[in-house]
């Protein structure tokens, strides 16, 4: 029996080393790209687009469910976006709180008849409102159908060729939309989806729907999520985007070519990972058509969002994410290792299966063997020691590297003390935060077998102060 666990331990060591090396490979790929553009004067590079008639108009879709605390400040922040032509559509997905009432009151909205184009089926639309102050702000009041259904309703009502999906609790930097649209405009539509970085707003000073001062939160749970976002966005997504095999554009902030999304069938209501599922379906469509169109991630445009501050909410978020990942991979299993889908089928899908999804299982077994090795001689203590070190390497050291990459390139956090705090918290990841995540992600795999889509149960405090 002990030899079985020994073999298992070495398999886990090999897996973690392989995954770590893949992260390091991604890091090198990402580093070159981000470093090249790090000193670019972003204002200069986008100011031409601001007055340029070639800039495509964009419909901004804000799906909201029980977002009475943050929805109006999100819309206010969208109003101040530097972008030549835009419309804002808030979709109240049958909220039980006063989401619609807040919108109607704040923007003096009146009910209007509207000839909605039914591109994609959605739950019943109860009413459509339009602001009397800003006629390009509209509100859809609809029956509850989930986030995907809300976005589909927004797509139906939108008038412009591109739409930006943004969460009801997020704040976009003033030039964020312009920067996100830049690759689409410059590629003449060859880029069909772009996503920007999502950053955690907890701890920052936000007034008048704008991030005034960037600071770190006190809560270690939120600090660790900041590190985690660096790791996911700066290392993973950038490198995958560089290879045109990126499977996730965050649901919190992304711009999509509407025609392509409609062609793909819109957002899937049967999964909780509707953002990833749509991107995979778009890749599938592009590969089946042998199209050269691309999906891109841009690290600089930043969308600030509120992160969970309690373990309960964080747990439910992670279970939902993991479940969404499994559902997406399962519903597109046909693409897995299928040469017809090129690098997405041969590289990206297996990578997401073995590293992003099953990684949690491997790590879970790894933690079990470490404890079993040291406490119950389940495996040789030396093997347990190696496993322990590799786990630290895979967890803490890679995350700490992500913090350093952020500082090397974007350096959004202004003080040296921010860097120090983030780095040292990153080093602690393996010892408390990662085991929690691993456990919840394993629970998420089980949760995937119990159906029933719903919105996340985020307890909002509101990020605007």
């Amino acid at each position: 029996m002990q030899s079985f666990f020994e073999v298992l331990a070495y398999a886990i060591i090999a897996y973690m080393l392989f995954s770590s090396l893949s992260y390091l490979g991604f890091f090198l790929l990402a580093f070159g790209k981000v470093k090249r553009e790090a000193n670019l004067d972003r204002k200069e590079s986008t100011e031409d687009l601001l007055g340029n008639q070639n800039t495509f108009p964009v419909s901004i879709l804000v799906p909201a469910y029980n977002e009475e605390v943050g929805v109006t400040s999100t819309v206010r922040s969208l109003l101040s976006l530097e972008y030549p032509e835009k419309e804002i559509i808030v979709i109240d997905d049958g909220s039980k709180d006063k989401t619609s009432e807040r919108m109607i009151e704040e923007f003096q909205m009146k009910e209007i008849p509207f000839a909605v184009r039914l591109h994609i089926e959605s739950a019943e639309i109860k009413a459509i409102y339009q602001s009397s102050i800003f006629p390009y702000i509209r509100l859809i009041k609809k029956a509850n159908g989930g986030k995907a259904d809300a976005l589909n309703a927004g797509i139906n009502l939108s008038s412009y060729p591109y739409f930006c999906a943004i969460d009801g609790d997020s704040i976009l930097e003033n030039d964020g939309l312009l920067k996100t649209m830049k690759p689409i405009i410059e590629s003449d539509g060859q880029v069909i989806v772009t996503g920007g970085s999502v950053r955690i707003a907890n701890g920052c000073t936000i007034s008048r729907s704008k991030v005034e001062a960037i600071d770190l939160p006190k809560s270690p749970i939120v600090l660790m999520q900041i590190v985690e976002y660096f790791r996911a966005f700066l290392i993973g997504r950038l490198a995958l985007s560089h290879l045109n095999v990126l499977l996730i554009i965050s649901g919190a902030f992304g711009v999509f070519n509407k025609e392509r999304v409609i062609q793909a069938g819109g957002y899937n209501k049967d999964t909780v990972g509707e953002d990833m599922e749509l991107v995979v379906r778009l890749h599938r469509l592009l590969r089946e058509e042998k199209s050269k169109q691309r999906i891109e991630y841009i690290p600089d445009p930043v969308c600030w969002t509120e992160a969970p501050e309690t373990l309960d909410v964080l747990k439910s978020q992670r279970i939902r994410w993991q479940r969404g990942l499994l559902e997406t991979l399962w519903s597109h299993k046909k693409m897995m290792l299928n040469p017809k889908y090129g690098s997405v089928g041969l590289f990206s899908m297996p990578y997401f299966l073995f590293v992003e999804l099953l990684g949690a299982v491997f790590e879970f077994v790894g933690y079990f063997l470490i404890i079993g090795g040291f406490a119950f001689s389940l495996i040789d203590p030396f093997t347990a020691g190696i496993l322990f070190l590799v786990t630290i390497f895979y967890g803490s050291l890679i995350s700490a590297l992500a913090v350093l990459l952020e500082e090397l390139t974007l350096h959004k956090y202004p003080k040296a003390s921010h860097l120090m705090r983030l780095y040292f918290w990153a080093l602690t990841e393996t010892f408390w935060y990662r085991p929690l995540m691993v456990f919840w992600r394993v629970l998420g795999i089980f949760a995937a077998f119990r159906k029933g889509a719903h919105w996340g149960d985020m307890k909002r405090k509101g990020i605007s102060t």
Partner: protein
């Protein structure tokens, strides 16, 4: 592999990271101090800069900027602020003088740097400050480029802003050059050069359709009425894309010598042509087409219905027409569209 190996590997990685961390923290402190110094110097120079720009005889600024330890960055910020807020400042002789005297030599060096971002920033600033002395250097670089990447595109924009007519012929070397880039170049050229280049593009002697489309599109957006007869002539061309570009241009120009030309487009097989023709009929308030527009309100294509309703709304009695059509049009979708556009008056009424 032994435990020792992993210990050494992990510790050396940790050590390496710690060294990097300290270096980054030190860099951050240094950058922060530098930024603070730049801001202080910028604020200290704003007054003398403003005085100099208003009255060049007050040359305190010229002496003070020489003493600045961050002369280049501070001047860039001052000039950037000035060109961003002052109308007609791009052609300001003072901006040109300051940038030629204090920045041109530095920019010439920057253009030769390996760092891509520095070269790009330099190209943006040369355009903003209109540094014509660097034109030969930029031409040399554009002649050497062989791919239309981001840098070459900006090089073309910058050269066009310095009124270099050869930019169009350089751009024409790239068969996949986007229409957007051609219009960017037209926009930046000085008026006389621009008119000559537009004229040549419409003649299309070099058989470059992207260039011709861009010229038609630019003429429309800029409202260059002098070209109207030639744009109208394009309505009769056999090339569908060119007809659409011409319709778009007429829509922007809001002028048509013979409104009768529009009828065949309102009845076209192509929905795009019906859509643009409807929009033109509305923009030009061509009452004779009210009836056709009422029919198009029930068109099978959503965009045509949308544009027809929008067009009807442009007429002085548009709201009455739409009220009537929203109740009595035989087509249900037409009634919905009319109702929607009627309600779009909501924002403008208050």
């Amino acid at each position: 592999m032994s435990l020792h190996f992993f210990w050494i590997l992990s510790l050396s990685l940790l050590l390496g990271q710690l060294v990097l961390l300290l270096a980054l923290a030190w860099r951050k402190e240094k950058m922060s101090a530098k930024e603070q110094a730049i801001t202080q110097q910028y604020e200290a120079l704003i007054d003398s800069f403003s005085s100099y720009m208003l009255d060049p005889s007050d040359d305190r600024f010229l002496r003070e900027i020489q003493n600045s330890t961050h002369k280049i960055v501070v001047l860039e910020r001052l000039l950037n602020g000035y060109v961003a807020v002052t109308k007609g400042s791009v052609a300001s002789p003072l901006v040109t003088k300051l940038s030629e005297d204090l920045l041109a030599a530095h920019y010439a060096k920057q253009l030769a740097r390996k760092d891509w971002a520095s070269r790009m920033n330099t190209l943006y600033y040369i355009e903003d400050f209109h540094i014509t002395s660097l034109k030969p250097l930029l031409k040399e670089r554009i002649d050497k480029s062989s791919i239309l990447d981001q840098e070459t595109q900006q090089l073309l924009r910058t050269l066009a802003s310095l009124n270099e007519p050869a930019t169009i012929s350089v751009l024409a070397r790239y068969p996949d050059a986007p229409v957007r880039l051609y219009t960017d170049v037209f926009q930046r050229l000085e008026e006389q050069t621009r008119m000559e280049e537009l004229d040549a593009a419409l003649r299309n002697e070099i058989q470059n359709n992207a260039l011709k489309h861009a010229a038609v599109s630019y003429i429309g957006r800029a409202g260059l009425i002098a070209f109207l007869p030639r744009i109208e002539a394009e309505l009769k061309t056999g090339e569908a894309e060119m007809r659409i570009q011409a319709l778009k241009a007429i829509l922007h120009m809001q002028y048509l010598t013979d409104p009768g030309l529009l009828l065949s487009f309102l009845q076209s097989q192509s929905w795009t042509e019906r859509m643009y023709a409807s929009r033109i009929a509305g923009k030009l308030q061509l009452s004779r087409f009210k009836e056709v527009l009422s029919v198009l309100l029930g068109d099978p294509v959503w965009w045509v219905r949308y544009s027809a309703a929008e067009a009807l709304l442009q007429f002085s009695d548009g709201d009455i027409l739409l009220t009537h059509l929203s109740a009595d049009h035989p087509d249900r979708f037409a009634r919905d569209m009319a109702a929607q556009w009627k309600s779009s008056l909501l924002g403008s009424e208050t």
